[in-house]
Amino acid sequence: MDAALFLNWVRGTGLQIAVFVFLLGTVWRLFEIYSLGRKPDLAERRHVAGASGWHTILRRSVPIPGMMQRSGMTYIAGYTFHIGLGVVVFLFAPHIKLIQGLVGLSWPALPSQFVDLVAVVTLAAMLVVLADRIMKPVKRFLSTFEDWFTWAVTFLPVLTGYFAARHLLLPYTLMFSLHILSVELLLIVLPFTKLIHVFTVWPSRWFNGDASARKGVPI
């Protein structure tokens, strides 16, 4: 199985399998989660400006006073790698080309060198987050196999993507294939692990925000 053939498979059937499992799993799990319904709240609602589920979806990204001092690392490293992932995936020329090929949408890209820098920062931030999860007693106490596994599954695509883009370490064809393969692994496991928080975080924040907003408390 030489490199070009491997790339063809990975880019062809491999990706089709991954997208298939990803879409199937996500739709299935979202149905399964949100089909459990939510009883309407009969208590008389309070109307306070700035208090609603929608506000919380945005506001919850901002740490409340005092939390930065308590665990700034979680916030800083956490947001760095989340934003980094966003930039690398959605503002990198080849990725935009990929998306355009799939759904026809396109938008201007950032220069490749800048995205490379962001990729490096993202990798660093993820390593910091990993170290934090190992060192902090609470995080280690909470961590299950899934936490380490999903970390690796998210880290690999960025790593292989960076090496492929810079044509480093392995021949391009092989590294590029490994990059797509790691993205496929990410797509396949996403709906069945905590990575599904990509989708469920927004309704969760909305439910939380709405429950408090009904009482007139904007959190």
């Binding site: 208590a43 308590r70 936490d147 924040r205 909305w206 429950a211 408390v217």
Partner: protein
């Protein structure tokens, strides 16, 4: 599976809903909820991490409401919940959780963890895993009508005493009154000043009000222990009493849990909206102030700070009234760090103060409040929850801090403008 456990799992299956499912799927084990929970921050023990406290609920959700979960249970990949585990979790779900809601406010993925603790308690209590203190209190509330066994004669005695003091009449069972005042046992027993304050304020505001002989108790131990069926029985008394007396508004007293139980959980317990309004006493006083019906004189000179009871402020939504009222009678009102909705709990709410096993961890948790007070150095602390007051005083006593704690309503009453002399025996 023992009878208790099957009842527990069945109840949990009833209460698990889409939000809970969404929360369990969103949790990324980041540990931030622990940083917001005073039981962890002051003890440093990771087991007090809020999301860990609802682990049994997560297990039931995963093994009952997800295809993969059920499959894994069938093939033995995951262990079903055991009665013994529920027993182990009693310490986490009751002793070290006041349901203050700070974790829900901080969770970056938006998990409402306190909502889940409230639901998990339904399963814990029904299978006999609730602390003795809380069980006894609930038993007394259901059988006698008050968690501390206060019966009507005792209330009448207090009323008699207050009528002598204030020279004002404390109406009882007055049909058609505008306000129906409820009391919490703590106030009847430990802080009679509350009722006398209400009496004088109502007089000055010129509002008709009444107590209700069949529903004088405001607190709802059913919510604390987590048994909605019992909570329904308890809250129905208030609803029936209010509807019998055809009052417009029921006033929840200076007690955190009474307010959340009556104002926010009540309608859902009885399955229909109320035909009357429910307001916390602070909301009523603030309205009087706004309508100019509450005339006070003089100002407290000392440096005052306000402890925001969780169930009233963050979980209840009464945020501004207390500040307006404080500014009415104090020139030197200083906010603690992390005030109002960000407040830190006194450590005694949600049934923790009624639970002897929680004594030790509660005093450890109080260090958070001590740190806040050391920072702001007040001369006097004001709050609006009878339970908070006692928990705070015990905490201050334990840490040799000499700081008087006063109820806000009581303090307002002390500054009431004496109405025209002679018309009211003082």
């Amino acid at each position: 599976m023992s009878a208790g456990l099957s009842r527990a799992v069945n109840v949990l299956k009833e209460v698990i809903d889409a939000p809970i499912a969404s929360y369990f799927n969103s949790c990324v084990h980041c540990g931030l909820c622990a940083e917001a929970c005073l039981f962890y921050t002051e003890s440093g023990d990771p087991k007090y991490t809020p999301i860990h406290k609802v682990e049994p609920l997560r297990r039931v959700y995963e093994q009952e409401y997800t295809l993969l979960g059920r499959l894994m249970k069938m093939v033995g990949l995951v262990k079903p919940l055991t009665d013994e585990e529920l027993g182990q979790w009693q310490e986490l779900v009751y002793d070290s959780c006041t349901m203050c809601g700070r974790c829900s406010m901080v969770c970056p993925v938006g998990n409402d963890i306190v909502y889940m603790v409230r639901k998990l308690r339904e399963g814990m209590a029904i299978s006999g895993h609730a602390p003795d203190g809380v069980v006894a209190a609930t038993k007394r509330t259901v059988e006698i009508g008050s968690p501390m066994g206060v019966k009507l004669p005792a209330v009448k005695a207090q009323v008699g005493h207050i009528q002598d003091d204030t020279g004002l009449e404390v109406p009882m069972d007055q049909e058609g009154a505008e306000y129906m005042v409820l009391l919490s046992s703590m106030e009847i027993i430990n802080f009679p000043e509350y009722l006398s304050a209400i009496t004088r304020i109502m007089k000055q505001a010129g509002k008709t009000w009444t107590l209700c002989s069949t529903a004088f108790e405001a607190t709802n131990s059913g919510i604390q222990i987590g048994v909605s069926d019992l909570a329904r029985v308890i809250v129905s008394r208030i609803v029936d009493g209010a509807e019998r007396l055809k009052v417009k508004t029921v006033i929840s007293p200076e007690c955190g849990r009474a307010y959340t139980a009556l104002r926010w959980e009540g309608p859902n317990l009885i399955g229909r909206p109320y035909t009357f309004k429910v307001q916390h006493i602070l909301e009523v006083l603030d309205e009087f102030r706004a309508q100019g019906l509450l005339k006070t004189q003089g100002f407290e000179e000392e440096r005052l700070t306000f402890h925001d009871p969780c169930q009233i402020v963050r979980r209840g939504g009464v945020i501004e009234p207390q500040r307006n009222l404080m500014r009415m009678v104090s020139k030197n009102f200083v906010e603690m760090s992390d005030p109002s909705k960000y407040n830190w709990c006194c450590g005694g709410g949600g049934g923790v103060s009624a639970n002897e096993d929680a004594e030790e961890i509660r005093l450890i948790a109080f260090k958070r409040k001590k740190a806040q007070l050391d920072e702001v150095k007040p001369d006097k602390m004001v709050t609006a929850c009878a339970n908070c007051r006692i928990v705070l005083e015990e905490g201050l006593e334990h840490y040799q801090m000499d700081l008087p704690v006063v109820g806000l309503t009581e303090m307002i009453a002390e500054h009431l403008v004496e109405s025209e002399p002679g018309s009211q025996k003082e």
